[in-house]
């Protein structure tokens, strides 16, 4: 017997996703933007797990594991980019300073 119903899980996921989205939009710190992205990914993963529990299907958890791996990869790449930027003499975490593509 699940403690949370599917609707509760969806609600939590929406809240998580909104939190992550707000973080991405509001924070200027690259590190926090990365963390917010992870929160958004986790929200999507939560929906998968909840849907898997709802329809009694294990593939939801498989997808969760894949998203977990994806999130780890994405964080690794993001951190590597930050480190590279730092090594190239641009010691700033402000995302808005990288706006060379402005119109």
């Amino acid at each position: 017997m699940p403690v949370f119903s599917f609707n509760d899980a969806l609600l939590v996921a929406v809240l998580l996703f909104a939190t992550g989205l707000t973080g991405v939009l509001v924070r200027r710190n690259l590190l926090f933007m990365l963390m917010s992205l992870d929160i958004m990914l986790n929200a999507a993963a939560l929906v998968f797990v909840a849907a898997g529990a709802r329809w009694h299907d294990a593939s939801g958890q498989v997808m969760f594991l894949m998203i977990l791996a994806l999130a780890a990869t994405e964080t690794a790449v993001g951190l590597a980019i930050i480190l590279r930027l730092h090594a190239r003499g641009r010691p700033s975490l402000d995302a808005d300073t990288g706006n060379l593509l402005r119109g």
């Binding site: 989205l21 991405v24 939009l25 509001v26 200027r28 933007m33 995302a95 808005d96 990288g98 706006n99 060379l100 593509l101 402005r102 119109g103």
Partner: protein, 655 residues
């Protein structure tokens, strides 16, 4: 025992390639050559052992090794599996033995080059890929080798990458063979979809049992034929091979003469049952082979660059092989493949030795009289040239070409239900081709080695280069005695080995067929002697730059045609993309508005002036607004994406 040796034959050059690439030039040049040559030599020894094992076994059962299952789905499965039967035995012997001799030669030839580790790494990787290609018993596994040899060819053509012409040649070779690879992949997918496996044994059984519809067979055969034509540089894909001579000479000898370009011939010989079932493909193959052999021989006749003469000659000889394949006598094609590997490798290696000694001069009209300064080289070039021309009785080329010619005479190629092309026509063209072959190669021989001395040759050919030359000279003179026409002596070792159940020979052939085939090279030799050989030779330079000669020399204008039909439109599209035509249009509209406005202001037409001023302001403000949207900040872009998503969702949900 053989099951253990078979993977080792591929593993030995492959591991050498990995070591050479990983060492990245830190290894001393001496060890690099030693390692590469040793690994290929080991493969050669193993193939000889396997040949003895396979041929001495009482039952002609091929040796099979399945290494692992590559992929498995309910409807399709593919294995990494090797199979050694007489057909692949011939190929691995040619690849490893010729490859070993060429590596030995390259040790001295490439000494002192800074990229020697890269060179030998690519060469050994090529040997490994070629062995995978000829050994695999699964077409998907064969495709790995097929792509691998293409990659190594690309790496080696552009080996001296500081010269843009070399990299352009490498790219051209890669692109053109890629067209063929795409077609071949289509053929493989079609086969996989209709039969459900790419195992060669199963495929041939399915074709023999008639499980595949004739349409599918013909389609597959045509797709695979396109792949083979591109790899073997036949019309209309022949343009890459002459340019591929930009690579080092051992590469030209190994990849672009002896082995890689014959991969197409091997593929068709391997799937000959499938191709026999598709008569359309066979006719196309024979006709293309004939056209190619004639066209390439004409081109070779007017070249001035020593290596380009040999390149066109390779295309021409491959045309003979395709003619034989189209006739259905794949044994003859394979025999010619073997002898061609001997004499063409010999010619290229000799050409490399000549070019190195005359200070990297490749134009034959600036050489001359080299017979006195390098008699040994002249001897081996003469051996190669005679074998290529097919001088009767004493050379390997004669026997293989004769086998092809005698089979073509009797063949018949149906074109439609009522009309069919007689083999006599193709036979006549092939004999004319044999005459031209002899003419162009002896033209080259007489111009280079006879006449007045024009350029001093320095140094001497080192022993390590002379030994392979001697070995291959021996092979190209005596390699043909394994198969002799019935008219002379009934020796059929080669076809017997490939096809123990018996190879159909035309014993009722009129003897004049053989004499005609034997006379054509002799006539060519005499004409070449008359035109270029005597001291007061009739023609020394290329006679007047007439249009036909210029057209032939540049390869019949195929390059120009492809430039106009394919390259230019592509470049144009690229130009359109780079110059952002839509952006140009909007800025053009803006400037047109501004000009119109200026025009109107000058005439002070009250209201119109006001309207146009407002238009300017609005344009400018719109511009400012749009520019503000493009502020380069990732967070803003994310916000726009989210807004758009919300609007789209809302409209989808609420409507």
């Amino acid at each position: 025992m053989p099951e253990f040796l078979l993977p080792l034959i591929v593993l030995s050059p492959f591991s050498a390639a990995i070591i050479l690439f990983l060492s990245a030039g830190r290894m001393p040049a001496r060890y690099v050559g030693l390692l590469a040559t040793g690994s290929v030599g080991l493969s050669a020894i193993i193939s000889v052992i396997l040949a003895v094992l396979l041929l001495s076994a009482p039952s002609a059962e091929p040796i099979r090794v399945t290494l692992w299952e590559w992929m498995h789905t309910p409807v399709f499965s593919a294995h990494i599996a090797f199979e050694l039967d007489p057909l692949s035995l011939v190929m691995i012997l040619v690849v490893t033995v010729i490859g070993f001799l060429i590596h030995l030669y390259a040790v001295d030839y490439m000494r002192g080059d800074p990229g020697i580790a890269r060179f030998f790494g690519s060469m050994t990787l090529f040997i490994a890929a070629m062995l995978v290609l000829v050994l695999s018993s699964d077409l998907l596994c064969l495709f790995i080798g097929w792509e691998g040899v293409g990659l190594c060819s690309y790496l080696l053509i552009g080996f001296w990458y500081t010269n843009p012409a070399n990299t352009a040649a490498a790219r051209k070779a890669f692109y053109i063979t890629r067209i063929g690879d795409a077609a071949m992949l289509c053929g493989l997918l079609l086969l996989a979809a209709t039969v459900g496996t790419l195992q060669i044994d199963t495929l041939t059984e399915a074709v023999t049992a008639g499980q595949i519809t004739p349409t599918a067979v013909t389609g597959t055969a045509l797709f695979l034929l396109v792949g083979a034509l591109a790899k073997s540089a036949q019309i209309p894909f022949q343009t890459w091979l002459p340019d591929a001579m930009a690579g080092p000479t051992p590469t030209s000898a190994l990849i672009h003469a002896a082995t890689m370009v014959t991969a197409g011939v091997y593929l068709i010989a391997r799937l000959h049952i499938l191709f026999t079932a598709a008569t359309v493909a066979m006719t196309v193959m024979a006709v293309i082979g004939t056209l190619t052999l004639l066209m390439a021989a004409c081109s070779a006749l007017v070249q001035a660059d020593l290596k380009r003469i040999l390149a066109w000659s390779t295309i021409s000889q491959l045309g003979y092989m395709f003619l034989a394949l189209g006739t259905g006598v794949w044994q003859a094609a394979l025999f010619h493949l073997m002898t061609h590997a001997f004499f063409k490798a010999l010619l290229f290696l000799t050409a490399g030795a000549i070019i190195e000694r005359v200070h990297h001069e490749q134009n034959i009209f600036r050489m001359g009289g080299l017979l006195r300064t390098m008699p040994g080289i002249a001897g081996s070039f003469l051996a190669g040239a005679s074998a290529l021309a097919g001088l009767p009785l004493i050379t390997a080329g004669f026997y293989s070409k004769e086998l092809i010619l005698s089979s073509v005479w009797h063949a018949n190629f149906p074109i439609s239900s009522r009309f069919s092309l007689s083999g006599h026509v193709l036979w006549a063209i092939a004999v004319v081709g044999a005459f031209l072959t002899s003419l162009y190669i002896f033209r080259c021989f007489f111009i280079v080695f006879f006449g007045p001395l024009k350029k001093d040759a320095s140094g001497h050919t080192p022993l390590l280069m002379a030994i392979p030359l001697a070995c291959i000279s021996f092979l190209s003179v005596f390699g043909g005695v394994v198969e002799i026409p019935d008219t002379l002596a009934p020796v059929h070792l080669f076809t017997q080995m490939l096809n123990p159940s018996g190879f159909f020979t035309h014993t009722e052939d009129p003897a004049w067929l053989l004499y005609a085939g034997a006379a054509a090279p002799l006539v060519g030799l005499s004409v070449a002697w008359l035109l270029w050989g005597r001291t007061s030779s009739v023609i020394q330079e290329i006679p007047g730059q007439t249009i036909i000669i210029r057209l032939t020399e540049s390869g019949w204008g195929f390059d120009i045609l492809y430039d106009f039909v394919l390259v230019r439109p592509f470049r144009f599209l690229n130009w359109l993309g780079r110059h952002d035509i839509l952006d140009r249009m909007s800025s053009g509209a803006a400037s047109a508005t501004r000009r119109t406005n200026a025009f109107l202001v000058r005439f002070r037409t009250g209201i119109l002036s006001y309207v146009s001023e407002r238009t300017i302001v609005m344009t400018r403000e719109g511009n400012v607004l749009l520019a503000r949207m493009q502020n380069g900040r990732v967070r803003w872009y994310a916000a726009w994406i989210v807004t758009g998503l919300c609007v789209a969702l809302a409209s989808a949900v609420l409507s």
